[in-house]
Symmetry: C2
Subunit: 459 residues, 2 copies
Amino acid sequence: MPPEAAIRPAPSAPNLACDPALFTDLYELTMMQAYVEAGMAETATFSLFVRRLPKRRNYLLACGLDDVLSYLESLRFSEDSLEYLASLGQFSARFLAWLRDFRFTGDVYAVPEGTPVFANEPIVEITAPIAEAQLAETFVANQIHLQTMLASKAARVVAAARGRPVVDFGARRMHGTDAALKAARAFHIAGVAATSNVLAGRIYGLPVTGTMAHSFIQSHESEAEAFRAFVGIYPETVLLVDTYDTLRGVRRVCALARELGDGFRVRAVRLDSGDLAALSREARAILDEAGLGHVGIFASSSLDEDAIDALLRAEAPITGFGVGTKMGVSEDAPSLDIVYKLCTYAGLGRVKLSTGKPVLPGRKQVFRSEDGGRAAGDVIARADESLKGRPLLQLVMRGGQRTDAGRDTLDDARARAADELAKLPGALRGLAPTDPPYPVEVSARLRADQEDVIRRVRG
Amino acid sequence: MPPEAAIRPAPSAPNLACDPALFTDLYELTMMQAYVEAGMAETATFSLFVRRLPKRRNYLLACGLDDVLSYLESLRFSEDSLEYLASLGQFSARFLAWLRDFRFTGDVYAVPEGTPVFANEPIVEITAPIAEAQLAETFVANQIHLQTMLASKAARVVAAARGRPVVDFGARRMHGTDAALKAARAFHIAGVAATSNVLAGRIYGLPVTGTMAHSFIQSHESEAEAFRAFVGIYPETVLLVDTYDTLRGVRRVCALARELGDGFRVRAVRLDSGDLAALSREARAILDEAGLGHVGIFASSSLDEDAIDALLRAEAPITGFGVGTKMGVSEDAPSLDIVYKLCTYAGLGRVKLSTGKPVLPGRKQVFRSEDGGRAAGDVIARADESLKGRPLLQLVMRGGQRTDAGRDTLDDARARAADELAKLPGALRGLAPTDPPYPVEVSARLRADQEDVIRRVRG
């Protein structure tokens, strides 16, 4: 239906990582050409925010900024990309030459990773010549959306586990390889203990971990033989006991302990099916009776924050959780209503009036007030206001280069998340929706600006 | 909790595409080492299948095989990867040397991309020395899961649109860059007309398309000026009319048509908010009255198959749909219960008995019967059976090399999907769950094998 369609044969050996510059919606490029052709080079600010929180989220945990800054720093159009764009037949030689020299030269204000944020609060604001800021929309939204959504989900799972370690087992069912890698990173920020994803461990320096699969048990003549073989190589491993019959599996672990004597150093058994509350209690009793009180019980199998919460409310003696799909795809809220909206161009505030989709004009700041060490309420204000409370948005990139504030490490972000989450009102950290929600206001001056701009564009 | 945890600092400039061999769960590698150390090199078959369909899916559209075959063909451990694995302190020099020479040498049977499949039907079966087949689990499941889930969702959206073009607008909210690229590919197979994702267009040779964003309108002095500027460069474009007031926007398009006379070649207006049924009717009337009966109405804004179906049942005069998030994350079913299970090792069928998680032993085939050109039922059988109907699984890789059947093009897959979907009973192609579901049986011989193996492992 839309007209700018063009097809070109695929290259034979695609390198998916080759060209992040092309990871953009076509209209960003057609709009950029229109800006460039018209000489519209004035400064724009775009604001990235979530319009409303999913029903089962009392806050979001901001995440993904580091990838956004790396993208902006290295944004270039390769000759291959330019050739592809030329083949689409809608870009002028002049615009393609302009793209060849493209660099991102703007400023970025952002909420640091690991900070809780709420509806309508800017997470990232990009200020740059309009064509530069326009191009970034697709990638910036994609990464902040993914990582914020996943960190926010994981924070709930970690809270439900009440100090017991949560391990990410989700790689096989997350949405593609990029999601699985970024998830492991976001989960680390949210307090997850380790990941099974080896490449994520390699890239981000995360703790990697794992147990064993049913296939290992199945490939041996018997479960006992499989246990013996695995423990021979990995004495401190976790043994998966549910392949044939969970409680018989636990008894085989006890038999192995008798057989190995002091050489028995297995850390835990793993339950992966059935009624985890009942089985964990029975397994605990069997292990305790065999003098294996130090052997933990690790549980997995379709877990999420609700299942973990229910298990621990039922006092299931589980010492750690492997969590896969439901955390990995944020099953109950697999998307956020995130948008990237123009709010200033050429010195004037900009809004749209589309039904149900309001925009706050101009560069903004969020001030968070505390009361006795607890976050008590936020005010979204103009960037040039000085209000009570701590400003959340920081200058993380200036003129296309990261500032010191833009060089947070992953561990900084993890520590911040732990710290900031502890400051939220207790109810917000619970699983149930809070009513009323956390208070977020718009400052009087920003509201007045919005009304002025609405009057101006209504004409 | 599990013991094999190790941390190593992240490299400074991660290249995410560097090492697909490390895109695996740690336990695959620890199990491989155990197989290798024990000399367990016999042949295994692993079967990839979906245990049950999501409530709102009458079938799944198999997708993702091409990426699986590329991965298996090129699977190598780089020196960098081996060094990282060595740093984890749990792999022997002998095993790392074995990994250095690793190649996938196995056979793969698979259902071709674009084929509808049902619960428990193998989508891919990998037969190889057990360590080789074990390693592949994480990546193979990740890609088939993602692409099958997305193609299955898109097929519903395309069906709901009843021949009107559906365009993929989802890149900004899909789960990461890999998901957004693979989605565009999967959507193409499922019959989506085009994507806005430029990199996907580049890599897969897909039609790329787009309209304009609110920011373009907002950045101009007036909507009329923005329309004039965009049409000056892209005469056959689609104009977004809801930035300030949808029907005034439509009237401005009519005014532009009067102004440009024969030079007016705009193809459609785009509605992106509000009551799309009512607005499309009013827009149609305004356009028709202005003699613009040939100008289409393109709609977007939180669309999915249900919304599109409701609009078309209400006879909304919409000529094309832009669909983003809800299709892009498969919002109503953001994961499938996909598993990769050992079913043969060293010539013996293998199963597990875990509660609610049965496995069919041995290499298998699926026979699809037709009745008057309509798919009438499937039988899951032993690979060596010859039953009535068409066998769905084909040999796509032999000894680590693709066969001709493994060289399907994307257009082959798209044509197959159109063809095979047309053969499904009509009710299955509808949006409502069918009751009873499509009939899938297990052959008597396979059922007998399963019982034999269960008896054997129960001991």
